[in-house]
Subunit: 447 residues, 2 copies
């Protein structure tokens, strides 16, 4: 095989990058568990008929087929493009064995045949949480879900130095009620065009609304004014009221959104913004919607998003409403890792390299390594009884901070960063807590 | 959507099963890290041309294609069927950025279009370790790798109660040298037939060797006698010598295999068996080979296997020899989980449910939950201000051991298994260590 080339859109990391990604996933999943979300994993494939239902996403689906398929393989399968479609299927399939409201998290790869570009991948990792009820789901979960997201993002910021995240929240009822109050019937059509606000600007949206949707200039301007409202506190309610539109659904939306902003603001000030232009495109949300932007990297687009759907799944008899959030792990990390902005202090888990004097005494080095491992210290034994200078370089090249000498007869351990060497007992010695695992640095600041 | 049916060969677990699987993966990966293996993850797809190279496995490959593929998608892709082919490609692609010998672990799904049956899946999780050198790799790594496997299996046995595992080891040099010493030229052909020993028995193998390979009765009997030798100590060397065959390659194989058995025996007695019929079919091993069997479930076949390959990968200029072990996580767990032999004490991570008196005081319950979470205690807040009996049943149904009452005004916590209720401060109280996480039981014995 000649040297293979990377496949565009399928990011892979060197070991130090994967160590960073694992640390992030550890924070993400342990936070989900602290909030009582149970883990599940679904198969990578779903029947193509289910994947193709979501309108225009069909063109992005990867079809999967046995190289030598036979008649028994009648079902056409595709790789899942998100974790919501498989979760909805899982809920229906296992409803009799699940306790509702059911809180689950799921961290898996998903695949989309999109044109690869920065922030868009063909294979990427998502981490999803959802709370799903049977027939009904209380509104307070719409407030709970973004608080979990904030908890995750604040820990990633505090513990790993990732940029902070701002959550932009809105409510479909608010926009839909507002449009209805203006006498507009095709509210979905308007929402779809308002969704282009960030891309094309307010004037172009006004233009689209009058030209394509047949709105009057006044109606279009009101819709664009609504989309332009944002605030980190409940003051947005007065701004909306000032536009002079009345509708019961608008009232419901305003009430839900202000409850969310009020509680979130109490938890972490200024991280949550009521942003009335957030529409979440064609997704099936019916109430609260969420998007999240890395401060300083807003051009990456939303790195985590979600919302409320009145019907995540239905088998005709039962309906399962839900609210959820999906974290784009690869979208957040791949640019930071590939540009070297976030790195690990070593490319291996090992905190210690046990040096080998001679191949005949390898067993003694293995015994020291075993003693350290029994106390949960990651260790490797030098692969070759080279000169000690060469063994130290082996450790240096990998970022291993300690080298153990004289295994079994004159045990000592050297911190190769400072050169300090001290006698040590393999049954007792431990590295400082900060050296037990690789540390992560963001923009040169070690954590 | 009507109630969907499971796809045969694509196992999925309920949350309690996934909790068990996560606990197993935690032990597996943390043990790999204690031995200094670095994590990597590779994309799910490889060029079909690379996947199809491995002879008869081609028929099991899943081809992946965009639903609306265009000319730019010239490369045909397939899902990887193991983690060795992608790892070999990763090593070649990144050789300039890796430090050799390179020790990596990788835990991912793999896909094979095999006919589904017990122990055979179309989608399953493997956990692989490999040590790869550039141009050369010392023989002591052949001894190291099965010691890591033993460490993993002993912990799964001790900590989770999984059945113990017996490692069966052999060395291709031993068999090949023996066959050569008998004057046989097509040693691969003989090995392939000896590989059927367990399936068809010694007489049928003798028959195959004379009929298909043209061996004399004496040659065939000697090969079958060799395959019949097994021992948990170095006594197998004398048994082989007693067959009276001489060859330098045989000597090398005997030496390598006895070093392995000697060291492994010292680490964990009687778990490693020199088993001279182990051939590992058509795989590209060139020296030591390993298989592993769950004691009491030998009919599942080998649940973890591996060996030494003189050339894991080569770009024409450089060659990368390696030695590795692949753990069939799904093959080990899916039968135990689906039969309910191994279970988790709860279906959620939550150790505590905070009861809600009335919707107006939900904020106080959320504050108590936050205080507990800040000390790493997994908590959920009751979804509804039901009667307390109903809130306790909510906890019971999920296996949550503690319910918190009187949040913020008369805090107390009740162990709903014993009924014992005590006053508690959310800033101080912790559950007993054994209740912080779900416990795992195997055949009814809780760990």
């Amino acid at each position: 095989m000649s040297r293979p080339k990377p496949l565009s859109g399928f990011p892979e990391f060197l070991p130090a990058g994967r160590i960073v990604e694992n640390r992030v996933l550890e924070i993400v999943t342990s936070t989900f568990e602290l909030h009582g979300f149970a883990p599940i994993e679904t198969r990578a494939v779903e029947p193509l008929s289910q994947l193709a239902r979501k309108g225009d996403i069909a063109k992005e689906v990867y079809v999967v087929r046995r190289l030598h398929a036979d008649a028994a393989d009648a079902d056409e399968l595709g790789l899942h493009f998100d974790l919501t479609v498989p979760f909805a299927r899982y809920v229906l399939e296992n409803a009799g064995h699940l306790a509702f409201p059911f809180r689950r998290y799921q961290v898996q790869k998903v695949w989309r045949g999109e044109r690869p570009q920065e922030g868009r991948y063909r294979e990427f990792t998502q981490a999803d949480i959802d709370i799903v009820g049977q027939d009904a789901l209380a509104g307070h979960h719409d407030v709970e879900i973004p608080l979990v997201a904030l908890d995750v993002f604040e820990k990633l910021h505090r513990d790993l130095g990732l940029p902070p995240v701002q959550l932009h929240v809105n409510n479909r009822k608010l926009a839909e009620g507002f449009y209805r109050g203006l006498g507009i019937e095709d509210t979905a059509g308007v929402l779809q065009r308002v969704d282009k606000f960030d891309k094309v600007g307010p004037d172009a949206v006004t233009q689209l609304l009058t030209a394509e949707m047949g709105l009057s200039e006044a109606q279009a301007r009101a819709c664009v004014s609504l989309a332009g409202i944002s605030a980190t506190d409940e003051s947005f309610v007065d701004d909306v009221r000032a536009l002079g539109v009345e509708d019961p659904l608008l009232d419901a939306g305003l009430e839900e959104l202000s409850a969310l902003v009020r509680v979130a603001r109490r938890s972490v000030p200024d991280r949550v913004v009521a942003d009335l232009k957030i529409a979440r495109g064609l997704d099936y949300y019916t109430g609260t919607v969420y998007e999240s932007f890395l401060v300083g990297s807003e051009k990456l687009g939303s790195v985590a998003s979600g919302g409320r759907y009145d019907s995540l799944a239905s088998d005709g008899r039962l309906t399962f409403p839900g609210v959820g959030y999906s974290f784009g792990i690869t979208r957040i990390l791949a640019p930071l890792i590939s540009k070297g902005r976030i790195t690990a202090s070593r490319s291996v888990p090992s905190a210690v390299l046990v040096a080998v004097d001679a191949e005949e005494s390898r067993d003694q080095a293995i015994a020291v390594a075993g003693a350290l491992r029994s106390r949960d210290i990651p260790v490797e034994v030098a692969p070759k009884a080279d000169k000690f200078g060469k063994q130290i370089r082996y450790a240096e090249r990998r970022g291993i901070p300690f080298v153990w000498f004289g295994a079994g007869y004159d045990d000592s351990v050297k911190d190769i960063r400072t050169g300090a060497q001290t006698a040590a007992d393999p049954a007792i010695w431990s590295p400082p807590d900060g050296d037990l695992r690789a540390s992560v640095s963001m923009d040169g600041n070690e954590r």
